[in-house]
Structures are given as structure tokens and as C-alpha cells.
Symmetry: C3
């Protein structure tokens, strides 16, 4: 049953053997490694029935599953439908974007479960996975999807898989440095996911620079229906971002607060995006690309601080600024990057992830540095920043400093990693 194949999926005959081989070998490797290392976390293991009694839990609803599973599913939709369809606005790469995104994400989550597991959930020689690990694996792959946005249309599936392998590895290392060594807070991943992913992708696309690509600009045109498909991606990312930023926050008020802050920031961001899009275009028309992308910058930029006491008006301010920064970036910075720095940023991830990610890191550092026991309450303060054990004596201003250091580390790791992979 011969069926039409689309541009973007067309590969040379060479691939016939290489892609299958890589996929099969890697999947076999995954099975072996999972067999050796991966087991269920206590809350997903059948022994939980006994564990529950030891922990004096009276109800099954105390299982972490019920705290996080709805958010997990929202994040899952963001990675596969959100990022996948967002990239369909390019006429020629519509199906390729969705399909390759699917492939790299499905591979990436397996490798991320292992890498993040070794760093964070390793006990007695086993990685114990639960719903929080699934969310973190999706987050990690989200970072790869972001980088994919910069190189869309320039690489073969195999190159993508290799990039995924490296990026996931480096992501886990960077995350370990930030969360464990620097004891930085970054629940929504402004630094670990967005800043890191974006600068990684931009470095790779810089190295892959091919001047003749400039000619084929018409490939980058969009068509009517592509824009509606892309809006599906945009809207799911926009709607579920509160789940993204709250998914792995502490149970209770922190998850609640993170969702509210993100909701506010995103709402403000839509208005300033529309304002600047209309202002900077000839004839005041709105540009689809801005609406599809810059409206999301508000979510990126509260990734670090959403679970803190950023307050709703603080979130509005962050969203306000990011809508402007991101839209202006699309109008002026993307052409500049391409013509002067030879960085072909297909989806404009510098405007949507890199800059808002940096802003998010800075806002997080400031919010942390400004924290007081008065605002958080004595116990809330300790819980919010996990000032226990070794970190018992850390002050907010010191925490702010470490948060700032986290930004620098993420950017440097991204440059270094991107250069190696590229």
C-alpha cells in the first residue's frame, strides 16, 4: 500500500540501514541497563501495602501518584503535542517536526530516566523510579526539543538521536551541579531546561551553519493551515505551563503557588506580545510567529521563581517584560543573529527560551535573595528553600548568589556541550 511521503521525512538510501541499526542497538542497550539498574520506587512497588503501615499512612491518596500524576500528564502533552505541533508552522517540515520530535522524545525519556536516576534516585545499586522521575525525564527531553527547534530541517534523524544522547547526558550533569552541589532551586527549569537547552541548540546550529540554506528561505514560509496546527502547539504549551512549573514543587502550598504565578505571568505576556507585535509591524498587523511563540515567554521566565513568594503582581511584571523582550527579539535579534553571527535559529528559540530563561534565572535569584521569614513564615521559609542539614545556615542573599551562579554554569555547560556535539 504505497502512500505519499512528505518532505522532511525524505532521507537518502543510506539511512535505510543506519537508522534501524541505531534504534535497535540503543533500545537493546536500554533494556540491558534498565534490567541492571531500574526498579520501582517504594510508592509504585507492591510492597507499598506494608510500607504504608510502617510509615503510618492511613490512606492510599497519600501516594505521590495523586499529587503529581495530573501535572505529569499535562507536561507529557506539552512535550509531545506542544513542542511537536508548535514547529509545524514551517510549511515543509510539518510532519517531520512532529514525527522526529516523537522519535527523539521517546528515546530521550529512556536515557533521561537512567542518567537522572544515577544522579538523583540511586539507592543500593538501583534506580528507583516513580511518577516524579517520569516528570523529570519529560523535562529533560523538553530541553532537547528546545534545541531541536534551532536546528529543525538541518539534520538527519540519526544526528538528532546522537544529539539527544549527548544533550540528555549533559543536562543531567548540569542539573546535578545546580540542584545538588549549588543547592539551587529551579522547579520550572528556567536555567536547567530553557537556558541550557536554548544555548546548547544555538551553539550546535552555529557550527552547522550552511550559507546556502539562506537561499531556501521559502521553505520557511508558512501556510494557513500550518498556522492553525501551530496554534494547537502554542495553546497547549500556554495552558499547561502552570502544570509544568508546579509539577515537581513541594507538595501543598508550593505547587498551588507555582500554578498561580505562572498563570498570571502568561496572561500578562499575551498582552504585551500583541502590543509589540502590532506596533513593530507595518500596517499594525499581528504577526503569527509572535503570537505562536512570544506569548509563552512568560511561562519560561517564572520557571525558577514560580514556587517562591513571587506574588501575582510580581508575576504580571515578569510576564509584561518578557512579552516585550521576546517579540522585539523576533523582529530585530533573529535577523541579526543570522546575518552577523551566522546563527540560523529556525524557530527563534533565542527569543522564546534563551532570553526569557536568563530573565527567569535572574528573577529567581532576586526573589530568593529578597526572601524573609516574615513573608514565608518560619517553617515555610525553611521548607521553601530546603534550608536543612548542611544548608541550615544559608541566608537568602547567599542563596541568591548561588542562584546567579547557577545561571552562569548552565550557559557555560551549554556552550561547551553544544560545541562538542556540533
Amino acid at each position: 500500500m504505497e502512500r505519499p511521503r512528505h518532505q522532511g521525512m525524505a532521507k537518502n538510501t543510506y539511512m535505510r540501514w543506519r537508522l534501524p541499526l541505531v534504534c535497535l542497538l540503543w533500545e537493546v542497550a536500554m533494556i540491558v541497563l534498565f534490567g541492571v539498574f531500574v526498579r520501582f520506587s517504594p510508592e509504585a512497588d507492591a510492597h507499598w501495602e506494608e510500607e504504608k503501615q510502617e510509615m503510618n499512612l492511613t490512606s492510599d491518596i497519600e501516594n505521590d501518584f495523586y499529587f503529581r500524576y495530573p501535572s505529569f500528564q499535562d507536561v507529557h502533552v506539552m512535550i509531545f503535542v506542544g513542542f511537536g505541533f508548535l514547529m509545524t508552522f514551517l510549511k515543509r517540515y510539518g510532519f517531520g517536526a512532529v514525527g522526529f520530535n516523537f522519535l527523539l522524545a521517546a528515546f530521550g525519556i529512556q536515557w533521561a530516566l537512567l542518567m537522572q536516576g544515577w544522579f538523583h534516585s540511586f539507592k543500593n545499586g538501583k534506580i528507583l523510579i516513580g511518577v516524579e522521575n517520569l516528570i523529570n525525564a519529560d523535562f529533560c527531553v523538553g530541553s532537547v526539543c528546545i534545541a531541536f527547534g534551532a536546528i529543525l530541517g538541518k539534520t538527519s534523524p540519526i544526528q538528532l538521536l546522537i544529539m539527544t544522547l549527548f544533550q540528555v547526558t549533559l543536562f543531567a550533569v548540569n542539573e546535578y551541579i545546580l540542584l545538588n552541589l549549588l543547592h539551587v532551586k529551579d522547579a520550572g527549569g528556567s536555567m536547567t531546561i530553557h537556558t541550557f537547552g536554548a544555548y546548547f541548540g544555538l551553539t550546535v546550529t552555529r557550527i552547522l551553519y550552511r550559507p546556502n540554506l539562506e537561499q531556501s528561505k521559502d521553505k520557511q514560509g508558512s501556510v494557513y493551515h500550518s498556522d492553525l496546527f501551530a496554534m494547537i502547539g502554542t495553546l497547549y504549551l500556554w495552558m499547561y505551563w502552570p502544570s509544568f512549573n508546579s509539577a515537581i514543587s513541594e507538595h501543598g502550598d508550593a505547587q498551588h503557588r507555582a500554578a498561580i504565578n505562572t498563570y498570571c505571568s502568561l496572561a500578562a505576556c499575551v498582552l504585551t506580545t500583541m502590543a509589540f507585535s502590532s506596533m513593530l509591524q507595518k500596517k499594525g498587523k499581528l504577526d503569527m510567529v509572535h503570537i505562536q511563540n512570544a506569548t509563552l515567554a512568560g511561562g519560561v521566565a517564572v520557571g525558577t521563581s514560580a514556587e517562591m513568594m513571587l506574588t501575582p503582581y510580581g508575576s504580571l511584571i515578569v510576564g509584561f517584560i518578557c512579552g516585550i523582550v521576546s517579540t522585539v527579539g523576533y523582529v530585530y535579534l533573529t535577523p541579526f543573529l543570522e546575518s552577523r553571527l551566522h546563527i540560523q535559529d529556525t524557530c527563534g528559540i533565542h527569543n522564546l527560551h534563551a532570553m526569557p530563561g536568563l530573565i527567569g534565572g535572574i528573577v529567581g535569584a532576586i526573589t530568593a535573595a529578597a526572601a524573609t521569614e516574615d513573608v514565608y513564615g518560619k517553617e515555610g521559609f525553611i521548607k521553601a528553600f530546603d534550608f536543612t542539614g548542611t544548608y541550615q545556615t544559608r541566608t537568602p542573599s547567599v542563596q541568591g548568589g548561588f542562584q546567579a551562579a547557577g545561571i552562569v554554569v548552565s550557559v557555560l555547560m551549554a556552550f561547551a556541550g553544544g560545541a562538542i556535539v556540533g
Copy 2:
């Protein structure tokens, strides 16, 4: 990077400065007002750690976030994807519908948080917001999206924003009269959201009547892919309506019951819609517009009564009737409204929201009036209608009367408000 722009987004050069100015000024106003008034509710505040102990809560899962957040996300999808894509069936306004819906909803939720906050969550000079406020803000904006359905294609973005500002304000006033002064139950908003929103929009479109619009009927044609996009909107509204009607009901059995009743009503509505659509068309073909819209009437019509003991067969009866009423409305009433009353109802909201909303109000009044302690249980009875404090002595029949009064108030407020805005 020049990209094609679509009909419906085309604006005159004038707009170049007006839209940006309005968006930016209003967003600044939002930031100032949020800064003065809006803070986190206790369950989203970092002090919750201490509050929990005072309230003797043993688990973080008692946070309202876990009772309502999944429903909130479903409602969120209904407002942004559901209403947005439902309106894409019009060939020329496809992208405009989604984009403008996005703009007005993002602005509307901020203003709704403030307006509803002043009326319902105002404590010691501050509005304390939590996940329930986010749901209510989405509900309020849903009412604006409904009104938008009547005037789609007739207004500029600025006019839309101004309409949003006024409608949200009036919505909050009307809601306050119904819920607080009349002590009416309306968790799914048959009266406050659908009846109010629809008659508001119809009044506005009546005033904006332009005869020459009649000629451009071809603009209203649909194309194949538009219909599939519109079905995305329809299906998400249809699937998530049980969440809509249960989102702000009392914890426990009320939320559970509201979801079941809505599920049943919607299922029945699909069958009668298909039956009448096929019966009233030449050659027995099914009309896309009916399937895309009238199938949803069952959800609207149990908005008030879903959390009551309507029972599953009661819900089937309501859905049965509404599928018929709504489909017949599309076939006979919409052309009549346009030719005789000069009401150009682009999306047919009179059939989907106004009439089913009225039916919903009436069903709610009857269900309330018919309530007995036998059916609800002694405590369940008091909890279901909140017959405490001042309302301790209210009887079901009196409650039924007040419910009926709520319908009248909503319709009058909508007419008055629409006339002023129009």
C-alpha cells in the same frame, strides 16, 4: 522575515498605535491593581505550613489545589482551545477566531480575578486568590467568549477588549446578585455564564447590525479542514464539560455527582441532535454545524442542576430535550432572527447558550424546589443548598423561587449591559 497574514487579522493602519497603547496601558493598570490588592490565598501562601498545623490538617493532599486543579486545567482547555477552535469553522475567520479569543481571554482573566475578587474573596483590604479563583476567572471569560461568538467578524480587537472590560464587570455584578444576594446555586453557570453571556452578545450584535453584511455570506462558508479544526473545539468542550460543571462544586459527592450528571446529559444530547439534524435536512444528510454545536447543549442545560440530585435519568431527559431545541433553533430560529429581528448570530449562540441556558436555569429551579431531606439526607440537604446561617430556614420551594428569580435577573442584566456596550 515577511510572512503571510490572513483575513480576519487584517487591520487598518490606524490600529498600529491604538491596539498597542490600549494593551500596554491596561496591563500596567493590572499590575498596579494587583500590586495593591491581590495576594495568595492561605492555601497558596508559604505560611500554609503553619496554618495546616492550626487547622489540624495531617496531609498536604487536603490543599484545595488537589481537589480542583485537574478540573481547572480541563476548564482552561475549554476556554482557550474549545471556544477558540469551535469558531474556526468559518473559512475567513479561522485564525482570527483563535487569536482574538486568546487575546480577550488573557486580558479578561486578569480583570475577572480583580472584579470577582472584590466581590467574593476580599479580606482585610486584600483579594486572596487560589485555584478556585482561577477557575472562576476562566468561567467569567467563558461568558465573554460566548458573546464573542455572536459578533465574530464584526469588530476590531480594540472593540473586543472594551467589550471584555464591560462584560467582565457586569458578569461579576450579576454573579454577586445571584450567588450572594439571592443565594442561588449555579455551579456550572447555566444562568451566570451561558444565559448572561449569550443575551449580552445577542444584544450587542443586534445594535451592531449592518445590512451589507448579509451580502458577504460567502465569508461564512466553511471548508473541509475548517470542519475538522472546529471538531477539535467541539470535542474538547464536550469531553471536558463534566469538569466544567463540577469544578467549583463542594468537595466530595457534589463534584462526583455533577460530573456524572453532565456526562449523561451530553451523551443523550448527541443522539437527539443527530436525529433532528438528519430529519430536518434535505436528503437526510447530517449538518456539520449541528454536530459541532447542538451536541454541547446538554452540558449547558445541566449547569445549574448537575451538582443537585438530578439523577442520571433526569440528566438524560434534559439532554434529550436540549439536543432537539438547539438543532431546531439552528434550522428555523437563526434565519428568523437574522431576517426579522436583524440579529446576526454568527455562531448561533442563541441555540447553543441562550436557550439551553434558560432551560438549565428552569431545570435548576425545579430540581431545587423538588429537593427533600429524604433524597439528600439530613446533612447532605443542608450542605447541598448551603442552608446555614441566614438561610437556615429557607425551604426548597422558596429556593426554587429564588433560582427562577436568578434567571430573570441574568437576562435583564444581559440586555441592559449589552445595550450599553453596543
Copy 3:
């Protein structure tokens, strides 16, 4: 307002009266039967306020609603958007697939609530429904949607409704035999939903074989946008499958574990699907149909065993195998079935549901037979397989035998049922 109608919705004039009559009469029958039989389960009834005190529940969050509602909504999306849009890849049947899927599912869930209610939730002459019944009704209809995939484009809406009526009835009988008489575990329905639904549909399509259909192969062609619409269906099925397999598992660790196992199996399945799709096609291109379908086989194949201690690497192995089996099926088996056995399997459900369903049943039998108290813990072991009451003395190997018997029963019931309906 004349609007274009699409292929697949075109019906002869005859239908003008038949479809409406059938829909209306059946809906009236539903209302009567619901009126006689269906009431709320205790957790959805207003008496719960008192029940709660009797059962010593301290919190509303103990209501089953909060354990299952998020999963229910995910399943709901899979049935209506997932299955509906998956079938839009066929150029001519795009809208028909979504619309008829909507009709049969809306009817089917009502009849399923009754049929399954009589068998499983019947108390004192009443069927008591709660959120778990809604999920089971959706599951049952899922089985019909699968069968619909085999006969897509060959039947009128009325024939579909009649098929739905019969299949739902048989589904409930088969489910009763498996779950109650054989005491088999099948939370994700590898046997009851997928194997049964697929062989039922295949038997029907065999009987409806029309040779001239072969000529109109061009109807089965796909177009670019159809493929993107179909990917919406694929991705929602893929993303929400962990909810499908965990929706009706026991509270706590079983739901948690089922989600993790399904997640792992699906991820592995994507890689082997891509590998074999690329390998078996000329020039190594990827075939859309494989990506849209075979990637889901991993979810089908852990339907029985996901809630057991299959372990993450066990899930990867199952997904690995099913991606291969399903893709090879599309390439070699579907043409063979059509040319030799005269089975026109429009959507290839033999590859996506029948074979993976069988594998799922077998994996479930093996996993059950291999269970030990050591792996599950003493109490976890009893809870996982419900070895209480009459089944107190059943051993894992006996359970494995009954699981295997369940597969055989499902296949035979499907053949017999399909033959009668066809």
C-alpha cells in the same frame, strides 16, 4: 444556510427517517431503563455526608472521584479525540470518522453503563454508578471504536449503531466471564478490550467483504493535512495510554505502577517501530501509517500486566517486541489478509489491537504465573491478585492458567459475536 457536506456523511434519502427514528427510540429506551435502574453510587450520592461518618472517613479527598477522575478524563479524550482523529488519515472519511465515532460512542456509553451495571454494580434492584462506571463504559466503547476501525467506510450509521448495541452487550458478557467467573486480572483490557474488539471487527469486515471495494483504493489515500490530524489522534492515544492502563487499577501503588510500566513500554515501541518502518520501506523512508499506529502497540500489549510487577525493563522488552510485530504486520500481513482471506482491514486493527492484544494476554498470564510473595510482599501479593474469599487458595500458576483461558474465551466470543452481527 446551506453548507457543504462531505464524503462519508452522504447518505441516501432513505436514511432521512430511519436514522432519526432509531436514535430517538433508543434514547427514549435509555431514559426508561435509566429511570428504572440507574442511581448514584454512595460516593456520588448526597447521603455520602452521612456515609462518610459511618465509614470513619475524615476527608472528602477519600472520595473515589479524586483517585480516578483525572484518569477518566484522559481515557475520555482517547475515545473521542484519540480514536476519532486517528481514523482521519483516510482522505475521504476524515469527517465521517470523527462524526460517526462521536455518534456511536455517545450511544455506546449509555448502553454500556446499563449492561456493565447489571453485571457488576447491581444492588437491591438498582445499578449504582460512580466515576469507575464511567471509565468502564468508555473502555467498552473503546472496544467498539476498535472494531469500527476495521469496517470504516463500509457501513451506514444505522448499521454502526446496531453493531454498537450488539458489541457492547457481548463485551459485557465476555467481561463478566473473564473478571467474575475466571477471576482474571485485565485492568488495561488487553483481552477484554483489544483482542475482543479487534477480532469482533475483523469477523464483521470479513462477512461484509465486497470485492469491488478493492478498486476504490484511492479512497484510502491520505493527504498531507490528514496525516497531521491523524497524528493528533496518535499522540493523544500514546500520551494518555498510561492513564488508560491505570484508570481502574487498585488505589495506590497499583495505579502508580501501571502508569510507569505503560510509559516504558510505549517509549520502547516507538524506537522499534521507526527502525522496522525505515528498514522495510524502499529507500528507508518512514511510513506515516506505521508511525501513526504501530507506536501504540506497546500500550495495548501491557494492558493486562501493567498493574503487576512487570518491572520497567520487562515493559521495555514487551514494547520492543510489539513495535516490530505490529510494523511487520502492516507491511506483510495486511495485504495478505486482504488478498487471501478477504479481510479488508481499513485501519489495520489486526496489527494494532489483535496481535498486541494477544501478546498482552500472554504476557499477563506469564507475569501472573511468575508472581511470588517475595516480589509482591505478603499483603501486596494478596491485594494485587485479589486472592481473597473463594480465591484465597489460588496459586500464581493456576492464576496464569486462568489468564490464558481468558484469552481463548475472548477470541471465541469475538468470532461468534462478529459472525452473528455481520
